[in-house]
Symmetry: C2
Subunit: 355 residues, 2 copies
DNA sequence: GTGAAAGCGCTAACAT
DNA sequence: ATGTTAGCGCTTTCAC
């Protein structure tokens, strides 16, 4: 180092101090087995005394190992929530530590448990170094987790988790709180008598209702702070835009005094056509999640508020953090990582993606 | 790579293809002079054909150069805005690329131009590889920037900038918009007749009023959307807490109908004692910036909203981005980086620091 | 102007 | 169980 006198300790220094070879030091540090307890002690001591930290650059330069990470997430179309999650993973894999990490993404149909089980089997066959998944089918997820543990394969949860399992780490948002925050923002400084909650029929058929915590958070807040407010519900179908417009028109014809609207799932953009067709200065619309289409609605002024986390960052960090744990065989700094809930309005949508 | 067949091209491949040695390839890539135009051409061509990208790990492993970055920012006490900025820099320096970057932080007194000039002189003497500073004294900053340009030393702006200069990049927030957003949130769904803007006397003595854009943004919004609203102003003194309580008590005795309060600088926490002593359910308080003390006020429910950016992240990214540019001798992806304006309420303060 | 060669700190295969 | 050694891809002297 040109301007720097003292240089950090290296494996060599540690080996010398401990009176063993560099190979042994390496084995001790990464627990690759085949060393005596005596050496272990002396190496550990030398490390502590010298404040030795491995040089990550040298490490990943020398390492010829490609770490395989398998991801299991729901199927997605471009622009979906899970598409953003996927992007974050891809991005992290590309950027991370000398990029010697390989990523295999498996998707499943959330309406079909079997597809999930299949994905799990495929992953097991790949013999990955680590697995990241979300947890929507409890029993199947538990069974899969146990298989992984048997193989000594670490796994992490993204978005949703199962508390009792031995996962390495979790990244997600507190959905219940999210719902509460949404309700608070929607009714801020107002004393609404009624409001409209739009849902997609899908929610009902769905074996696991992933949106429930958020809806409950929303409902609980309303009950606590606006007990007199009546919550109307209209169900729409994602595939039938014209039909939906009609449904909403019908609703508002009957309930002209409803000005507050929300959807607790990530697809508030489904209301776009209706909102465009029926401008109303008194209306206040709040949605969730930073889908591109949702952000566009914000910019266009069709909706007023979005409660969200930075979806791609959530998965980016999850993989980065998890990969560090797996590669360096260590525990995470924090096991349960609840990401921050952001509030977006037309005035601060800009630069949201510049994180 | 264990599971990976194709491996990336190396300097060696490039050298071979170009029919020169690895040394020459290196010289060409980093423009270290002493190579013929003919070699340059062939090397560049080989690079393009092989899609060669330098291996950052190997690069910083082999490099014995310590890059020195000098930072010039205002003096700060623990918990200040500039303390957070400083933390971000320190953190980035520690984390970044094999950590062969050295950081020298110089501070100056914003009330004293000479101290700024001195800091600049000190930095010039250090002959740093790059400089990061904020711009509050226009002429002096310009003079300094020109000296740097003469030395061929790249520089970046943090927080504030001078547009006409040849800075490499800028990281900061759009203060004017910030003020507007604050005003919008404070008056959301309300039709206030009056509100209170608290300022610190400091603003007046100060040669450069760094808070002006934000105040103007705030004022402009009010004029556009609430032209009838009267904005009262009370000046307080940071060093005289008891006196300030009295000033505010006097004000509210005379103006009992004022319920909205704000301060456009970063120190809304200065109101804490008053707010604690005079609880009022009708009151709405909005502040700016994520100072620890401000966040505490939010948690305590003393204030309702904070408009902010993630201060430490702003400087973290600035140094990281700038260091990459300097070390790799390249232009930034984006020159002016306006960071996102976050909205914090008591319901979403949690996890804000987990970015 | 160019090439050769000695590392940078670590990993992993191979000896012992 | 432990030591030895050949690289990983790049930088940087030093000769020519």
């Amino acid at each position: 180092m040109q301007r720097n006198e003292k240089k950090a300790a290296t494996v060599f220094d540690v080996a010398e101090k401990a009176g063993v070879s560099r190979g042994t030091v390496d084995r001790v540090i990464y627990g690759r087995g085949r060393f005596s307890e005596a050496s272990r002690q002396r190496v550990m001591e030398a490390i502590a005394q010298l404040h030795y930290t491995p040089n990550a650059n040298a490490s990943s330069l020398a390492s010829r190992k490609l770490n395989l990470f398998s991801v299991i997430i729901p199927e997605f179309k471009s622009g979906d929530y899970w598409d953003d999650i996927n992007k974050g993973f891809l991005d992290a894999a590309r950027t991370f530590s000398g990029s010697n990490i390989d990523l295999r993404v498996h998707t499943y149909n959330i309406l079909d448990v079997d597809s999930f089980v299949h994905a799990c089997e495929d992953v097991l066959e790949e013999k990955p170094d680590g697995v990241i998944l979300n947890a929507i089918f409890p029993e199947e997820t538990i069974a899969f987790a146990l298989s992984l543990e048997q193989e000594d394969t670490p796994y992490a949860f993204i978005d949703s988790k199962i508390d009792d399992l031995n996962y390495t780490l979790f990244y997600g948002i507190d959905s219940y709180k999210c719902g509460k925050l949404g309700a608070a923002l929607l009714t801020n400084h107002l004393e609404p008598k009624e409001l409209l909650l739009v849902r997609v029929e899908f929610d009902l058929i769905h074996r696991v209702d992933t949106n429930r915590p958020r809806r409950h958070g929303f409902a609980d807040y309303m009950e606590d702070y606006h007990p007199a407010c009546h919550i109307h519900t209209v169900f729409i179908k994602p595939e039938q835009p014209e039909e939906n417009i009609r449904l909403l028109e019908d609703f508002f014809r009957e309930h002209p005094h409803v000005h507050l609207m929300t959807m607790t799932n990530s697809r508030i953009f489904l209301l776009r056509d209706y909102l465009r067709a029926h401008p109303d200065p008194k209306r206040i619309v709040l949605g969730f999640d930073d889908l591109y289409a949702n952000m566009e609605c914000l910019r266009e002024g069709l909706i007023d508020t979005l409660v969200t986390r930075h979806t791609a960052t959530q998965s980016y960090k999850a993989l980065q953090d998890f990969a560090t744990c797996v590669i360096q065989r260590k525990r995470p700094t924090m096991r349960n990582n609840f990401v921050h809930m952001d509030i977006l309005t037309p005035m601060n949508v800009d630069n949201y993606y510049n994180y």
